[in-house]
């Protein structure tokens, strides 16, 4: 079966000029990243700040233009698409951002925020659009009287529901959730995650779930890729990767997560960068489990 999303050799270099007589510095934010996601999957992309996970998500949607590589969506390379073709492709691929405070226009009413993608893509006349917005509000658990309110009148969790409703407006197949629940309190986070899982069943959605919270990813994702300094250092079934991490970075990362048991042994593994070759390619270390060792 063809994967719904197939990222091959994705590269994003940021070039910074440093002055007249100095060579520009190149930051390899994403450095030869490849992974594939199957229809209906919840695929986790984890890493710490600066690992390149968000840049990867944005390159897939071409919100940032990648330097090189291919992004195949249902077999077609979206990086080769014209502007117009890309605009159409974005109907199928939507993103939900981390910060529900800065990602919603504060001067627009919630109903208009959710309707806007339908207007941009000229879908339906006004009554049909309003009908669709009402459906979306119901779907994400918002009340009809929320339609007329402004973003500041909502709590963080409700705002993230508005962001999800907006992302769902065009009936996408793939949602890129970029730290979509990281800013929320744990109880609200649980509610929004549950909503995302319900919507996956109901709308046959596929998720690229970008997060730094390893416990959450372990809990909800079927497969996971670990990024470190712009590269995927390990990828595999969540269970296998969390129980038997093969890459030194993954081991250090997992050992740093505080255990919920006060009596759990604290066997912190400190990463020794000299213990692995940063250029090693991914190779199989188990069934559907790869590591750059």
């Amino acid at each position: 079966m063809t994967p719904i999303l197939d990222v091959r050799g994705l590269v994003k270099h940021f070039v910074r000029r440093r002055g007249l007589f100095q060579p520009p510095s190149v930051v390899k934010a994403v450095d030869d990243v490849s992974f594939a996601i199957h229809e209906g999957e919840m695929f986790g992309l984890v890493g710490e700040s600066g690992s390149g996970k968000s840049t990867t998500g944005r390159c897939i949607l071409r919100l940032i233009e990648p330097t090189a590589g291919e992004v195949l969506f249902r077999g077609e390379n979206v990086l080769a698409f014209s502007r117009e073709r890309m605009r159409l492709a974005r109907r199928d691929m939507q993103i939900v951002f981390q910060d529900p405070y800065s990602s919603l226009n504060p001067r627009m009413r919630a109903g208009d925020i959710v309707e806007e993608p339908l207007i941009i893509h000229s879908l339906g006349a006004r009554p049909e659009r309003r009908q669709r917005v009402a459906e979306l509000f119901e779907m994400v658990g918002l009340e009809p009287d929320h339609l007329q309110r402004y973003p500041h009148e909502f709590s963080g969790g409700q705002r993230q529901r508005i962001g999800i409703a907006r992302a769902l407006a065009l009936s996408p197949a793939l949602i890129i959730a970029d730290e979509a629940v990281s800013a929320l309190d744990v109880s609200i986070q649980a509610q929004v995650v549950r909503l995302m899982l319900e919507l996956r069943e109901r709308l046959k959605l596929t998720y690229l779930f970008i997060a730094h919270d390893l416990r959450l990813v372990e809990h909800i994702c079927s497969r996971v890729a670990v990024m470190y300094l712009g590269r995927i250092v390990e990828m595999g079934e969540t269970g296998a990767l969390f129980t038997a991490p093969a890459h030194p970075y993954t081991r250090a990362l997992l050992s740093a997560v505080p255990a919920l048991d006060p009596d759990a042994p604290r066997d912190r593994i400190v990463l020794d960068p000299s213990s692995f070759n940063p250029d090693a390619p991914l190779r199989p270390v188990g069934a559907s489990h790869f590591a750059a060792v």
Binding site: V186, S187, R194, H219, S255, A256, P258, D263
Partner: protein, 274 residues
């Protein structure tokens, strides 16, 4: 049992608005023994940080303590003259914030910021303060401390900045540190290092810690006892094992159940938002 270092009794904090008054902290009582770590947990708006600010008498109007007593080393902080309170604040009780970038002065060298904590409290001359700053940076394991004292905050990574914050907090040898979400803004590997450091310093200096966090993992690693806040009230407090393994209050149970990986139900059981 030793006399408590900090003994908060029936603390109530209100914020008077134009039309109504909000009770942010409602009749809260807890105590911390010397060298003990109390974890104060709760979600946004539960009143954890307001409690910390009330202890240090740093509440901004219209917030005010409308009832209660805060005994620290035997004296009620709420009745101390401001001049005496200044000798407690930053010297006997110090504070570590979540965001080291906003809590540090961006145009002041880190060594001077550490030294300032000492000179303000008259505990060292300027020259002496510089020497102590290097020692303190060494105590929080900043490599090349002798050179790093001359750095500005922007030259340091997030984890290093938090170490500088801890060095400032330690400068006057306080008996109690209030740490308000000290590792929330940090990556998990850096968080682990900062928690290890706090644990080490706690033993070395016999520090008591009021650790404010929403992360039960941090609580499990650090706290001796836990107090759970919900909408301004303490709903439960007890030994860390008791709270984590056999929580008595419905809210604590639902909060723990919402932590990923603690329940079979995918996504967790969320407490009602109301």
């Amino acid at each position: 049992m030793t006399a408590p270092l900090l003994d908060v009794r029936n603390l109530t904090v209100t914020f008077a608005g134009a039309r109504s008054t909000v009770t942010a902290v409602n009749d809260v009582s807890f105590h911390i023994a010397p060298g003990e770590t109390l974890g104060l947990v709760g979600e946004s708006g539960s009143g954890k940080s307001v409690t910390a600010f009330a202890i240090l008498r740093l509440l901004q109007a219209p917030g005010r303590v409308s009832a209660g007593q805060i005994f620290f080393e035997g004296r009620d902080l709420l009745t101390l003259p401001e001049r005496e309170m200044r000798q407690v604040r930053g010297a006997r009780i110090s504070l570590i914030f979540q965001e080291p970038m906003t809590a540090l002065n961006p145009v002041m060298r880190v060594g001077d910021q550490i030294g300032e904590a000492l000179t303000v409290h008259g505990m060292a001359s300027r020259a002496e303060a510089q020497r102590r700053a290097v020692e303190l940076l060494e105590a929080v394991h900043i490599p090349n401390a002798g050179e790093r004292v001359r750095d500005y905050p922007h030259q340091l990574s997030g984890g290093m900045r938090q170490r500088v914050m801890i060095a400032i907090a330690l400068a006057c040898r306080p008996a109690l540190i209030i740490a308000d979400e000290p590792t929330t803004a940090l990556d998990v590997t850096i968080q682990a290092q900062v928690l290890d450091l706090l644990r080490e310093l706690r033993t070395a200096f016999n520090l008591a810690l009021l650790l404010i966090t929403h992360d039960f993992g941090v609580i499990a690693e650090m706290a001796d006892r836990v107090a759970v806040m919900y909408k301004g009230s303490l709903v439960e407090q007890g030994a860390v094992r008791q709270i984590l393994r056999a929580p008595a209050h419905e809210y604590t149970r639902s909060l723990l159940a919402a932590v990923p990986g603690t329940t079979q139900d995918r996504g967790g059981q969320a407490p009602s938002p109301r």
